[in-house]
Amino acid sequence: MRPCGIFDERYTQDMAILRTKQHWALLVGALILLYLFPLFGSYYLVSFLNNLFITIIVVLGLQIVSGYCGQISFGQPAFMAVGGYASAILTLKAGVSFWLALPLSGLIAGVFGIIGGAPSLRIKGFYLAIATIAIHFVTMWLILHLKITGATQGLNPMPPEIFGFPLDTDERMYYLIATVMLIMTFGARNLVRSKVGRAFVAIRDNDLAAEVMGMNLYHYKLLAFFISCFFAGIAGSLYGHLIMVVHPEQYTLTHALWYVGMIIIGGMGSIPGTFFGVIFVRVLDELVLFASPFLSEAFPWLGASPAAALGLSAFGLVLIVFLVFEPRGLAHRWEIFKASYRLYPFAY
């Protein structure tokens, strides 16, 4: 968001994420708003935002592996589960503090992600997509049948404590989740414009060409899976400690479809797009939830408030519309808006 007439003179200026004073003012304002939100926002909105932020972390990971590196993965919920279980087992059975377990669960999920990403060495495109579906089911089956994961009983991780002060309500967890979300966003934003990020984009655009140019394809593909699963693991850990339960029934393939849908709607290969996609889909789902009682009263054959089924249909429809009419997603709209803002008052 740069108004007309501001030019870069040095390299550091060109690379800066925040270019103008207005940027800084906006950022500080947004941060203050973000951190003061629980003081005036309703409980429901806070818990909605908690879910939203956790989803953003997961989808950021997916954005890196799918949007930037071009390897579509439907395995994100499974790796969330790995992270959640890792964190629960570490804190409950090994007695590790949550603050250590959080990054560790990310790393563990990341290592599993490397295993899960192994098929990407030989296959790509929808072959890989189906392979990740297979990985999802195998992982969930393992979780359901291992002793250490509590099998069908699941585990109950405790809320984290900071200096003896328990983060046991949604409002208190909000600060932690929002902070982690900001750090992860910052990390992702910088990662994708580094050497690694450029390598990812090269692989996405043409992996053979990238290989011919001398890139180590396997290294970067596995790295992309590692990073994306790291994000999923962190999100899984946060989610587990937020709702105080990790259970095999929480992580279904449907969630993977929603996550992939979110990056399509938001825009593949764009960090702001991730935010747009997640917010758009979550708000859409909430709206369907609101509308469904009225709909079921208007059309009795629908049955009583069939929100979940209607949500699924609405989501599928929106996804089709985006794929057909706006394949570059909301991020593309955002770019157009930014460009026209920069040129204002001129037309071009």
């Binding site: 309703s42 409980y43 429901y44 909105l45 818990s47 909605f48 879910n51 359901l144 069908t152 009983q153 699941g154 109950n156 046991d168 949604d170 709702i243 105080m244 339960v245 259970h247 095999p248 029934e249 929480q250 992580y251 279904t252 449907t254 969630h255 708000v283 859409l284 909430e286 709206l287 939830l289 609101f290 469904s292 009682p293 009795p300 049955g303 009583a304 408030s305 069939p306 929100a307 979940a308 089924a309 709209r333 808006f337 026209s340």
Partner: protein, 407 residues
């Protein structure tokens, strides 16, 4: 113009989102019942209709001025058997004024919501996990625990076996969903089988949503099962017995299902021929009994707008949810009054329900007390005959299998 449209759309969406939760406050006295139900997923066949009749029962009483002037606000959310969805829905409604009870259908969900319920000090209905009886928390089982029902069925099988002129005890197979619910009857049921000397085969667990069940049935048959206890929410047990019928197993083996078993308007309607002779052990009245229940049929005719004939057995489940809530509310109002009405008061009230005939025949005598989270300890046996569930016993006391298992 285009850009304005986008901004406008977003604005409207946010506005709708923000105004939604604010508009729930109403002027009249209300108490809220949150129903996290499944309208379109694995258990929707029974749970969906149960929820609808719960709502209808509340409507019926609200129209008569409520419970001592307090109207009941029913909040139904479709969760599609998805734990994550249900939890976020719970969080969204947990600050509803005077929310007294959250009804969670699904064993996994019941476990997941347990810590939240304790924290919020409200009460919770959950299907039939003996675990909650053992824990004695704020979670009330709205049936006999699954293991008690299973044990009652084991008793019946042994009786039936000897009545048929055999000596000793039968061999019993068990098949169910591979999920928390599916394993629950075994925790305690296994110990009870050992106690009465019935030989129980290894459980055969199949994934939720399986289309065919031949493998598991064949294995149980090969091991010589005389009785097979089938779990799963209808239409699952119907599908299992349908496959057994196609394999010709129903002639040799007596099938028994738990209270989520074949229903007159779901499975029985679809596969009456295959189900003929199967037995349902239920802590709710089913089949012909539901059609003869005076209040339930009245409510059905008035609010559901379909012939009574289409009433499912799960109607009595929904009716019982509503009636226990109403009875508890009545006691709570008498004890603390409307101003102090909260989850804690409701919790205390629920523990005084023991001995009340709350549902007038839709369930057995209520058993909620400080030492019991069982809705009732009585079960009834039904046999499927000519596309209808016909009672073959009266209410009988189910054995206490929960105490046999170490949770």
């Amino acid at each position: 113009m285009k850009r304005k449209g986008w901004v406008l759309l977003f604005g409207v969406m946010m506005l709708a989102l923000a105004s939604g939760p604010a508009s729930v406050y109403a002027a009249e006295k209300t108490a809220a019942f949150l129903d996290l139900t499944d309208m379109t997923g694995a258990i929707a066949g029974l749970a969906g209709q149960a929820s609808r009749i719960t709502k209808a029962t509340f409507d019926y009483f609200n129209e008569r001025g409520g419970i001592d002037g307090v109207k009941i606000k029913y909040i139904g959310v479709d969760t599609r058997y998805d734990v994550a969805r249900a939890l976020s829905a719970y969080k969204r409604y947990r600050r509803t004024p005077r929310l007294l009870l959250a009804n969670t259908i699904g064993t996994g969900l019941g476990k997941a919501i347990y810590p939240l319920i304790l924290r919020d000090k409200i009460i919770n209905y959950t299907p039939g996990d003996g675990e909650f009886q053992a824990r004695l928390g704020r979670t009330f089982i709205y049936s006999t625990p699954y293991q008690d029902g299973f044990s009652a069925a084991l008793d019946w099988m042994k009786e039936d076996w000897q009545k048929k002129g055999n000596s000793g005890a039968p061999i019993v197979g068990f098949t169910s969903w591979d999920n928390p619910y599916g394993r629950e009857p075994f925790r305690g049921g296994k110990e009870y089988a050992a106690k009465i000397g019935v030989k129980l085969l290894d459980p055969e667990l199949f994934p939720v949503g399986s289309l065919k069940h031949d493998v598991w049935l064949n294995r149980l048959a090969a091991k010589g099962a005389n009785y097979i206890y089938v779990c799963g929410v209808d239409p699952t047990p119907t599908n299992v017995i349908r496959d057994a019928y196609a394999l010709g197993l129903t002639k040799k083996i007596q099938f028994v299902t738990d209270y989520w078993g074949p229903d007159r308007a779901v499975g029985v309607k679809a596969h009456a021929e295959a189900l003929e002779g199967s037995v349902v052990v239920s802590c709710f009245s089913r089949g012909t009994d539901t059609l003869n229940h005076p209040i339930m049929t009245k409510i059905w005719k008035k609010y559901m707008k379909t012939p009574v004939n289409e009433m499912r057995g799960s109607a009595s489940i929904g009716f019982s949810w509503a009636m226990h809530f109403i009875e508890g509310l009545r006691i709570a109002l008498k004890d603390v009054g409307y101003e102090k009405l909260n989850g804690e008061a409701m919790y205390q009230a629920f523990m005084k329900l023991k001995g009340h005939n709350v549902t007038q025949g839709a369930t057995g005598i209520c058993d909620y007390s400080p030492s019991s989270r069982r809705m009732s300890r009585y079960v009834k046996f039904y046999r499927i005959q000519g596309a209808e569930l016909v009672p073959i016993t009266d209410w009988r006391l189910a054995p206490d299998a929960v105490s046999l298992h170490k949770f």
